[in-house]
């Protein structure tokens, strides 16, 4: 038996013992997601227990080093863990911008003190983070951001406004891009800073989305004090880190293109909704479109896997995250269009407790943001054209 087989056996046994029964089914809606944080209200004792047990093993951040609370797993082991979780349909114990975005940036660029301070609470789901990048005047042109941080010796005073800040009203800390030097080329005067959302001068105002929900906010920063030791990397050198973080964010958003383990595939859902005739989906045109989607989705998943394998073998193409974000998000939008088509008018029922497709209309609308957040599809195409194809 290989080490990996042993790891699989042990993991399987541990999950069997520790994953509460109610955490072994696909989430029914966004409300089942565990985000953690100071003010998080657990849906159930099982949800709390599941987070606590997984965090104890470091398996909320399986590939982070153990010294910061992570699982210290190799890529192969990480894959095994995900496979074993999928086998019993275990829910992700924690969704976290800390794990997906700021954590990797701190790991790579942060001081030892920052790592010690911030990484363990992220792993444990104790601190919830939000991302302060976009501003009213700086969306696609992110480097044009204006939030100003003035040097006051041992600290900065920040003034400005952020927008589209997902979950700013629920987050405990923010990682934000601020301008520390207005007199140089726009990319060269930016710093990445961290501050507590309870700091005086920070306020948020929720924005309602087309789906009717309000997961993001305007965030106002008025004379907000940020300690100098809360700068990730060097002052004025935040742009590189910001871009590194974006590649993580893009992989994560692009990943919506894949069907999560345990989730029904588009084809299976369509069969539920439309039915089979002689073994084929009863609507032949819909069947064609879903087959075409299924083929593209195989292509996307394999490409995401190949990108990781290549990176590991040192043959990585730079900027694959742009391509994966583009392909994954466009795929996810198509998936929801096809779901709406499959359920027909029943799928668009906006309210009610026993809608055949549940919150499909809201989910469908939410996917429209996938090709905007984290850099729009057009921006990804620009990156590919410029950086990979050398077109200009």
């Amino acid at each position: 038996m290989t080490d990996l087989d042993t790891f699989r056996q042990e993991t399987r046994a541990w999950l069997e013992e520790n994953c509460p029964q109610s955490m072994r089914s696909p989430m029914k809606s966004d409300k089942d997601v565990c985000w953690g944080g100071r003010n998080f209200k657990f849906q159930s004792e099982d949800q709390r227990l599941w987070l606590e047990r997984m965090a104890d093993k470091g398996w909320t951040a399986p590939d982070w080093p153990t010294e910061y609370g992570g699982g210290g797993l190799s890529r192969e082991q990480h894959k095994v863990l995900l496979e074993e979780m999928a086998r019993i349909q275990a829910r992700p114990p924690l969704n976290s911008f800390g794990i997906w975005m700021i954590g990797p940036a701190i790991l790579k660029f942060g001081s030892e003190a920052l790592k010690q301070q911030h990484l363990p609470p992220i792993v444990r789901g104790e601190i919830r983070w939000c991302q302060g990048y976009s501003e009213p005047g700086a969306g696609s042109d992110l480097a044009g951001l204006q939030a100003r941080a003035e040097d006051k010796g041992d600290h900065f005073i920040v003034n400005g406004q952020k927008i589209w800040t997902s979950y700013a009203d629920k987050a405990d800390w923010m990682f934000a891009l601020v301008r520390t030097n207005p007199d140089v080329k726009k990319q060269e005067g930016i710093s990445l800073v961290l501050f507590d959302m309870e700091t005086p001068g920070v306020s948020t105002r929720p924005i309602k989305l087309i789906s009717g929900e309000s997961p993001f906010c305007e965030t106002f920063l008025d004379d907000v004090r940020v300690e100098k030791d809360q700068v990730v990397g060097e002052v004025d050198k935040g742009w590189t880190i910001a871009k590194y973080l974006l590649t993580h964010e893009r992989s994560m958003i692009g990943n919506m293109g894949s069907t999560a383990a345990g989730q029904k595939t588009l084809a299976e859902l369509a069969v539920d909704a439309v039915g089979l005739e002689d073994g084929k989906l009863a609507d032949p045109m819909l069947r064609t479109e879903i087959a075409s989607w299924a083929i593209d989705s195989i292509g996307y998943e394999l490409t995401a896997e190949r990108a990781k394998d290549q990176a590991k073998s040192g043959q990585g193409v730079g900027n694959v995250s742009a391509m994966l974000k583009l392909a994954g998000t466009e795929l996810n939008k198509r998936r929801y269009e096809l779901l709406v088509a499959a359920y027909g008018s029943e799928g668009l029922l906006w309210e009610g407790d026993d809608r055949p497709a549940g919150a499909l209309p809201q989910e469908w609308l939410r996917t429209k943001g996938n090709s905007i957040e984290g850099g729009t599809s057009e921006v990804q195409l620009n990156i590919i054209a410029k950086n990979i194809l050398g077109l200009g």
Partner: protein, 379 residues
């Protein structure tokens, strides 16, 4: 799980193939074969070089003089050949012929593998009877006569039919015209009485033929595999063939794309390079992204075939479907972005479009394989 990257040996084979095709079979060679209506349809000196490099026997077992290097390796050769539109018996003999014999041949039939590996024996697979690929639709009949059979029917779109030493023919020994069972594969000598092979001309200038069988008598030893049970090995063979055609499409699409991007960087209009227009940049970036998906799918299909993975059929069909779709996109855009130049025979870009379409259709186009993927996935 196996990593989706080439091993060092596979990469070496790819590099060797690239060198060979680039030097011995550049696009200009295909153009010359086409212009001169070359009777063979390939250049024997080039084929000899390819054989010396061992390419013809890449899939042939070592016991029969091959290198048994696997589909991933052979796929790299097919892809590189696609880049230069190289005409050779590699696909019909080195892939289809070799694998048909490996899958279904008895010991004495497998002797042909030695000839395939050393380049002396060419084969052609004769299965399609209508313009669209429907491998189960077999109207060609094989009726028992004495120890053997008598074959009647006709086949079309037979790659390398007119140069083959052996035809591999599907015929019906029982059942109705579209039944899965009742199909038998035969090895037929094209020189046998009653066999007519007529070369047909296609836009790509490559070798295809119509084969007519008029009371062709064959012995019992001509049966490849089991009587009535031909569709199972045939389907496996078609999976393999589809994956290799997908690789060829990937190669020709990648080359057409590279040439288009290069053209955008040298053509000036409105006082600037046309590569500076965002409307064109986004189309190029989209094509690049699509080509990356094809690369992953083709590689995975080959790995699944080599591993005998139960998903291999589905992955091969998905790869052929996507490669066909993307080849159509890239070759159309290639001509479009070359403007008037793209419409000229003198410029090579049109040759890629004219090669792509027959390869897309061969062994089933996007629609055929998308339907198959849906079927295999149970919807």
């Amino acid at each position: 799980m196996q990593k989706l990257v080439l091993t060092e040996e596979q990469q070496m084979l790819k590099d060797a193939a690239q060198g060979l095709f680039g030097e011995q079979a550049p696009v200009s060679q295909l153009r010359k074969l086409r212009d001169e209506k070359d009777p063979l349809g390939y250049v024997p000196e080039f084929w000899n070089h390819a054989v010396e490099l061992g390419l013809a026997g890449t899939l042939v077992p070592e016991s029969h003089g091959g290198s048994e290097f696997g589909h991933v390796g052979m796929g790299q050769v097919m892809e590189e050949g696609g880049r230069t539109l190289a005409a050779s018996p590699l696909f019909a003999s080195g892939v289809l012929g070799a694998c048909a014999l490996i899958l279904a041949g008895n010991d004495s039939q497998k002797e042909i593998l030695n000839g395939i590996a050393d380049g002396s024996h060419l084969t052609a697979l004769a299965i399609d009877e209508t313009g669209r690929h429907q491998p189960l639709r077999v109207a060609t009949k094989a009726e028992a006569q004495g120890d053997g059979f008598v074959l009647n029917g006709s086949k079309t779109f037979v790659v390398d039919g007119h140069i083959a030493n052996t035809l591999i023919v599907s015929a019906r020994t029982s059942g109705g015209e579209r039944d899965e069972s009742g199909i038998t594969l035969f090895l037929v000598d094209p020189k046998a009485e009653g066999v007519t092979v007529e070369r047909t001309i296609f836009p790509d200038g490559r070798n295809y033929a119509k084969v007519t069988l008029d009371n062709v008598a064959v012995g019992a030893d001509a049966v490849l595999g089991e009587k009535d049970q031909g569709s199972a090995p045939l389907q496996k063979l078609l999976d393999i063939g589809s994956a290799h055609l997908a690789a060829e499409l990937l190669g020709l699409s990648s080359e057409a794309f590279d040439r288009t991007v290069a053209y955008m960087k040298e053509r000036k209009q409105f006082g600037v390079y046309i590569s500076s227009f965002q409307a064109l940049q986004h189309r190029a970036a989209h094509m690049w992204s699509e080509l990356e998906q094809v690369k992953s799918m083709v590689l995975k299909a080959f790995m699944a075939l080599d591993a005998g993975d139960e998903q291999a059929s589905m992955l091969a069909s998905a790869a052929k479907a996507k490669a066909s779709q993307v080849a159509e996109l890239v070759t159309n855009e290639g001509v479009q972005l070359h403007g008037g130049m793209g419409m000229t025979d003198e410029y090579d870009i049109g040759l890629f479009m004219k090669r792509a379409r027959p390869v897309q259709l061969l062994l089933g186009d996007f629609r055929y394989h998308a339907d198959r993927v849906a079927g295999l996935k149970g919807f």
